[in-house]
């Protein structure tokens, strides 16, 4: 019985691991921290798994646990933001796909997003993952209107960074 549960859980997580990796890439700056946070999220997901009733999709449920872990539960030393380091790990932008200006723009955008606070990052993350404002507000526990207002502010902030 519990062997089955393990198997189902690990398979589900393996299939959906991108979500967790994306959260880790936003909230950490090097590979060690990335793996560390990934592990903590996995542990939290596994601990909470018995309460997963399947009335929502596994992936939807994962967003909440992963973000809660990154924002609230994760407690490893915060390494300094190393702007040279992270883009070489995950955000290697393929040169042939973009012209130089766009490449530079995206790089600037990612750098800017990385410098946002934990909560702002969560909003941006859910937005980038194509979540609607209802889901965003339910995950964070704020009203939909406030989520919208906040998101607009972040957009403006990013805009000024890009077009000084």
């Amino acid at each position: 019985m519990s062997k089955d549960l393990e198997h189902v859980f690990v398979t589900e997580l393996q299939n959906n691991q991108n979500i967790v990796h994306k959260v880790c890439s936003l909230y950490t700056n090097d590979r060690d921290a990335h793996n560390d946070l990934f592990q903590e999220i996995t542990i939290q997901l596994w601990k909470a798994y018995p309460k997963f009733r399947g009335d929502s999709k596994f992936s939807t449920w994962m967003y909440r646990v992963a973000l809660n872990t990154a924002i609230t539960l994760y407690r490893k030393s915060k390494r300094k933001v190393n702007t040279q380091n992270y883009d070489s790990i995950i955000y290697k932008i393929k040169a042939d796909e973009y012209d130089e200006t766009q490449e530079l723009q995206l790089k600037l955008m990612y750098t800017a997003v990385k410098q946002l606070g934990d909560i702002d990052k969560a909003l941006v993350f859910l937005y980038l993952e194509d979540k609607n404002y209802t889901e965003i507000s339910e995950t964070l526990g704020i009203s939909e209107v406030n989520a919208r207002v906040k998101m607009n502010r972040i957009k403006n902030k990013l805009k000024t960074i890009l077009n000084p």
Binding site: E6, Q39, V65, L128, I142
Partner: protein
């Protein structure tokens, strides 16, 4: 198209660049130990519950205190005071356990943070209570030494050392108690506030951030 949508388009394509962990990698992870802040808050809180009580295990504190408490019959009041103290401690431990159980990673971010902070607040109230009790106890000891001549015999069983009158000794002892009380109270207070600050710094910052959005 606004800036964030350019980013979104790029973000959606990221999939193939992300690390891929195998079934076994993930399987191994689920048996690792968590190092979450909630776990640390739980451990540190238990220590904070124990710390003030551990003081009474130090032999000199215990014997002196007990003799003063029970050495003379008029101090039933102090016995009731101790019983009351333990009653309150158990109430706090029960509250703490209840709060701790309420913490669930499945809540929305704000509720989760609120529950953790409430758990910490219970511990904070307990520590403030214990510190006041410790300080009050030393004040009571100081007062009983100062106002009750019999008390002196507890500390000087043989005879009063040369060069001091009884009144002088009583004053010195009473002042000594007050000073020790202040030192112990501030020391535990300091340890507590350092731990408190370190543990919930990030949590507090993020919670304030969410609260600010509501305004």
């Amino acid at each position: 198209m606004d800036e964030l949508d350019i980013l979104k388009k790029d973000w959606q394509k990221k999939g193939e660049e992300l690390p891929k962990l195998s079934y076994n990698d993930i399987y191994k992870m689920i048996w690792k130990k968590s190092s979450s802040s909630v776990k640390w808050i739980f451990i540190i809180s238990i220590l904070e519950f124990l710390l003030p009580n551990l003081l009474f295990l130090i032999p000199s504190v215990r014997t002196h205190q007990l003799e003063i408490y029970y050495g003379n019959n008029s101090n039933y009041l102090l016995m009731w005071f101790t019983i009351f103290q333990y009653f309150v401690i158990f109430y706090f431990i029960f509250q703490f356990y209840k709060r701790y159980k309420e913490i669930s990673v499945l809540d929305d971010a704000k509720t989760l943070m609120k529950n953790i902070l409430r758990t910490r607040k219970t511990v904070k109230h307990y520590v403030i209570f214990s510190l006041s009790m410790i300080f009050l106890t030393t004040l009571l000891m100081a007062a009983s030494v100062y106002f009750n001549p019999d008390m002196l015999s507890v500390f000087y069983k043989a005879e009063i050392p040369d060069g001091y009158t009884e009144a002088e000794l009583r004053t010195i002892l009473a002042i000594g108690f007050v000073i020790v009380g202040i030192i112990i109270t501030s020391l535990i207070g300091l340890i507590y506030f350092l731990l408190y600050g370190l543990l919930i710094r990030k949590l507090n910052r993020n919670y304030r951030e969410l609260k600010r959005m509501e305004i």
